[in-house]
Symmetry: D2
């Protein structure tokens, strides 16, 4: 009766998914795993009791024992694996990005539309964070009136070597792009990137921080501060300024400490600590949609729209001007107001 | 492979446990349910797909398809069901209280000691709250030095009719009694109850609020304010004052709202909202201990010790004096420093 | 036109008063200062431009150029100086305590009653703290209904050598005794002191911390945790639990810092930092009452009542039992609801 | 010995200054007041005991009994009154703006330079707010490393009719322009104004909110959200993001209230409530500088620089592009690192 899941990719993200599916998600069973690197899949399978190892992702997708697929392999492989799942008619949860370009995302959207039913969910896990979920609930309840501004802060203590100026947008701000589209229920139409003098802690040549200013179709202004070398911790903030009040994400805190002349709470160090509950909820919700056959969660369209905004953002970063976002019309398959999240 | 659980009692608490075990606990399967009231068990079984309904708890305990038992029936039935589980050699999670008197608890302790292995866990779910768990972690890490005081606040918005002066101690403060024993790793030795003029919102004759002052064997002072008609919400606080600093539980908050001239966060209305995560963790942890055969969590001894402190507290409430807690020596089966909680 | 003030005592407290009166209080002029220690008065006078130095406090009180007197000399001298001010018909602001015993306070109350008008203000400066003042305002406005409990915390980072177990009550808790009488507008009737195992940081033989449980005439329960070696800072809290909500003092904070994995605010180190604004307001308010001839602020009666509660508290500390507070009837000169504070 | 102050303008701001100088500033005496509207000066003089009323500001400035002048008349009159003070060699505290255009400010700067000594202070009172003062102190102490970003929020509950799109910059953001120059100790070099769809609560045609993005000479990015119809209160925030941490202004709070299912603190309704202490400190500090002849505080240069940034901001608002700020070289009279504020 349990949903039988196959996981492609057994690196950090993939192995975490295997573990969470095994230990924290009722109604799911990981039945197969695969990884391009020899030994990786074996290790995870041994640790979590996964019975089958496939040499290749395509093989795992074809395995008749696999009901649904999680893609956590490198980004370059996402588009092909998603397409194979569509071809096989199997539900798939694909880590972001859906594909490497907006154009490639668009092709997957078309393929899903051609298939005639929703099979793809994209790994924008923040929608499953209790804070963001409550924020949306209250916004939709009209607690502060219609949104006028959305003020976002996204700060990382540090990033891996090779994290480029463009990745601040495509890897980091992409989360705010998705969450804001979801919170407001409308598309983003314009982007301006301000990139001042970098912090001395940024790698040579990297434009860190950036202030990304977005505007929605209806004219709501959104700004995202992205800073990826702040050292003090991982700090995510979001305040929706409505016409009569504001809603702000509260940082999750468990214990307050007083010592040495200060009253302090901990700031999480990594996104995994900050969003640990969201990763579990994402998997739990996705397994639920697979089990009852009613898809929800971030769609292929959401993956496409986020990619299009990122591309406009990168163009603005390079050119210094405001850049319009170009989006195809939304197919009927992707209803704007569909219920997602809290199942 | 999953742990097959039988749940005795299908009222509010029992049906919640059935639902959480089914939806939120990987590795568990509810295979049987029973309730003394006709129809109750049937409703829950239908809703959650539980295959078997037993007419009586004793029958459920004897069912060979049942690996482990949850007791969520009325308090008067706990002792007999726990003893039946001990007789059957089955792990049992019993909602508090373990039994109706300290003496009856002690007899269960002796029965478990005679059985020679730990089978009983008592439903003190606060130990599984992320806040209390982090607080203990940091206290044990020595972040603020050894504890000198523990300051607790326990406030309910309101209580059901019939909630008596004694129940403020036996039903409410009992949670602090357990959590403080667990945080400090030692027994409580003395109790004084201060019961001033009641709030006008208390039921006729009920001593609400009370200030319960406890002292541990080593001399740490603990006080618990218990107020059960504060109207504004359910408010639980705990601050451990160490020699060089303090650790305080942070209230769980997801969204901050600014409107109408104020900056506000919600206070939960009920204990189930406040401790929702703890109930899930409690079950998850208990199922884990059953699966791997290594018991943990609040023991029968913890149930006995809490009952003994409550009895001393009620005596102080009636007599107005400080009352000593009388405890038998702790059997070796219940190691003082055993690992519990975060599995 | 300015009020001409003479200050008796030029130690830490007295010299601070001279400085504040000179620099921060419009409408006041310090015209004379005296101190028993040679050189002290001279130093302060030179620094702040005080024209006259008197060899003795009595002489300063008699000086016709002095309109009003501040007493900041050692506690043993207070009663005699206050009486001399009453004899001279001069308004006086006397640092706490008014006198060394409740009985000596009572004699001053009688002397003032005999004189027929209010001349004495006692230095309970907390009533002038913006936090306590707002708290009283809202309590009186009925924002949370009538008070049921008052929960106070009074923690010092450390104390001077020689600070005895009794001084925790007479020097520290005395502030809560006054503030609670003022907040609630009624007298304290009973005291119980719980003195557990002391912190290892307390001086040999000193009972630190203590939990002082008070009850008002109408039955409101008040508790004060007094800890004088907490190391981490000076921490003052007060929460009034009303029938439908609570009011709590907010710690004064100016800047929030995020660094090194934490989000922190400073805890003040000393009472002078915490109550700096209150000391200024106290002097400003007192000078205003002197200028317009309408006395206000903590009265001789307040000094007497606080002393009586302290004596009961010390008796409870020594005897371990609840002790009643014995108070003479309040003379009409001291109206219960008189306006004080924020002029 | 007291500084004898004349106040030009007896409207809301002027009368407040008269009252604060009389009641809250030791060492100051208001000796004269004037106002263009008949009756205004008379009312204030009667209320506060000001002995002399002048028919015109010029007359007040020439009065030999007036040592120093406060200008609180309409903005159109500032430049002429300031120049008259310079001609008379009298210290002057001029409410913002120093003059109506950057060019007119520049002429006053030249006049002061020609006079050879600092006589002019501009009414940027935020520098005297305890929060901003502490923030600067810690920034200068290097607590979070060099500044990389400054994030400002400036929200008004509502504004008077006639408050135009340009006034959001020249009347509101001008405060952040000054405070950021002061915090960072450098000039602002570029401005971009983002003006999205206005809130429906804005007056017809008014661009509210705006996001004003500034860049300093050294490349620090500063953004200011200005929203003047947020209804919920007056909300001022400032966070300096340093290379290793951040410093943020804490909202001033005195009492925390719990009621009706929420935990709340008040948001001030008006800038006068929020910055009440700053207005007093500003006057106290200015009177101190006058008394000892060592000028400090926001200078004529600061008034000029703020005006120049505002003009660039208005140009960006109109044109939609980034606009450079044009500033003359700073005369030596205005040392960059001069001590200001907390005397």
């Amino acid at each position: 009766m349990a949903v039988r899941v196959g996981v492609i990719g057994a690196g950090l993200m993939g192995s975490t998914h295997v573990r969470l599916l095994s230990d924290r998600v009722a109604g799911a069973e990981v039945v197969a795993v695969s990884d391009a690197l020899p030994g990786q899949a074996e290790r995870v399978a041994a640790e979590c009791g996964v019975p089958v190892i496939h040499a290749a992702g395509e093989e795992l997708i074809r395995d008749p024992e696999v009901d649904a697929v999680v893609i956590a392999s490198p980004a370059t492989t996402h588009a092909a694996f998603v397409r194979a799942c569509l071809d096989a008619g199997k539900p798939v949860l694909c880590e972001k990005p859906l594909a490497e370009t907006a154009e490639a995302c668009r092709e997957l959207v078309e393929a899903e539309v051609a298939a005639g039913r929703r099979l793809v969910q994209v790994g924008f896990m923040r929608r499953y964070d209790p804070g963001f979920a409550d924020l949306k609930l209250r916004l939709d309840d009209g607690v502060v009136g219609p949104a006028v501004l959305v003020r976002c802060v996204h700060r990382n203590a540090q990033v891996a070597p090779g994290y480029s100026s463009e990745m601040l947008i495509t890897e980091s701000v992409v989360h705010e792009i998705d969450i804001v589209r979801w919170l407001l229920g409308e598309e983003l139409a314009r982007v301006t990137v301000h990139a001042p003098r970098p912090t001395s802690l940024a790698a040579e040549g990297v434009r860190d921080p950036q202030l990304v200013v977005l505007e929605t179709e209806s004219g709501v202004l959104v700004d995202v501060e992205i800073s990826v070398n702040v050292r003090y911790g991982y700090d995510i903030r979001c305040e929706v300024v409505g016409e009569t009040g504001t809603l702000a994400l509260a940082p999750p805190v468990t214990v307050e400490v007083r010592r040495d002349g200060r009253h302090e709470v901990a700031v999480p160090g990594f996104y995994r600590d900050r969003f640990a509950a969201a990763y579990v909820e994402e998997l739990r919700s996705w397994v639920g949609t697979v089990a009852d056959g009613r898809p929800g969660g971030p769609s292929a369209w959401d993956g496409y729209a986020a990619a299009a905004v990122c591309e406009a953002g990168v163009a603005s970063l390079h050119g210094g001007e405001t850049v319009d976002v170009v989006l195809r019309p939304r197919p009927d398959l992707y209803a704007p107001g569909e219920l997602i999240g809290q199942r």
